[in-house]
Amino acid sequence: MIAVGTELPEEIVYLDRALLKAYADASGDQNPIHQNEEFALSVGLPNVIAHGMLTMALVGKYVTNWSGGSASVKEFGARFIKPVIVPAGERVDLTINGTITEVNGDQIKIELVATSAGVKVLGMAKAVVIKK
C-alpha cells in the first residue's frame, strides 16, 4: 500500500565500536572522535560518537530495504541534531521509522525518524524514492 500516511515497518539496527571502525575505514573519515574515547572526552563529548554519515547511511539502508535497492533513491537529506553515543563494549540501537508524506507520480517522499537510546538523532530527515 503506497499512500500518504502509510507507515513503513520499524527497523532497529545496532552500532558498536567495531562498526564505527569499519565505517571509518570504508569512508576514509578517521576523525578520532569516532574511535578514541580519551580524545572524544577531551573535546567535550560524552563518549565516542558515531559518524553522522554512518547514521545517515544506515537510515539509507532502511529506505532501500523498502524501496527496492540503492538505485531507487533520488533524494536523501538529514540534519544531524544529536550524536549517536557509542560506549566501549556496548551495542547501541538506531531505531528507524518512516512515513509516506507525498506521492507524486512514481516519486514517493518518505519522512524518517531515527532515534538512539530514545533520543532523536536526525532532524528533517527525508528521502524521495521511485519504488522498484
Partner: protein
C-alpha cells in the same frame, strides 16, 4: 575565518576519481547491503568531503577543519554510481555566516561522469567557536 571573496566560487577538482569495486564492497558491508552492483546512496560523501577539505583549508580560504562538525547533508542522485566510473568533482562555496561565534559554511558538490551530472550534494559544515 573564511575569506569573504571565496563565497560563490566554484573549484574544479584537480583530478578525476575512479571508483573501485572494493571501495563499494567495503562501504556496502558496513551497512549490510549485499547488492554491490551500484554504490549505496551516500557512498560518494567520501569524495565530496575530501574535496571540501582540500578547498576550504587552502591558505587563501582559511577554514579550521580540526574544529569542524557536519550540520546537515542532502543528496540528489540522477544516476547511480558503479565501479569503474570516472568522476570529475567540482565544489562551490554557496554561503558563509557566523552565528554565536560558530562559522557556518554551505558547500555544494557536483559529480560528473563524462558530461553527465550524476550526483549533486549539499553539506552544511560548522566550525565550532
Amino acid at each position: 575565518m573564511l575569506a569573504p571573496d571565496s563565497v560563490g566560487r566554484t573549484f574544479a577538482g584537480a583530478d578525476s576519481i575512479t571508483i573501485s569495486q572494493s571501495e563499494i564492497d567495503a562501504f556496502a558491508a558496513v551497512i549490510g547491503e549485499t547488492d554491490t552492483s551500484i554504490a549505496p546512496p551516500t557512498f560518494t560523501i567520501r569524495i565530496s568531503l575530501d574535496q571540501f577539505q582540500s578547498i576550504l583549508t587552502k591558505p587563501e580560504i582559511g577554514l579550521d577543519w580540526s574544529r569542524l562538525v557536519h550540520g546537515d547533508q542532502k543528496f540528489e542522485i540522477f544516476a547511480p554510481v558503479k565501479a569503474g566510473d570516472n568522476l570529475r568533482c567540482s565544489a562551490t562555496i554557496e554561503s558563509y555566516r557566523v552565528a554565536a561565534g560558530n562559522e557556518i559554511v554551505s558547500v555544494r558538490s557536483d559529480l560528473h561522469r563524462s558530461e553527465e551530472l550524476v550526483i549533486s550534494s549539499w553539506s552544511t559544515l560548522v566550525v565550532r567557536a
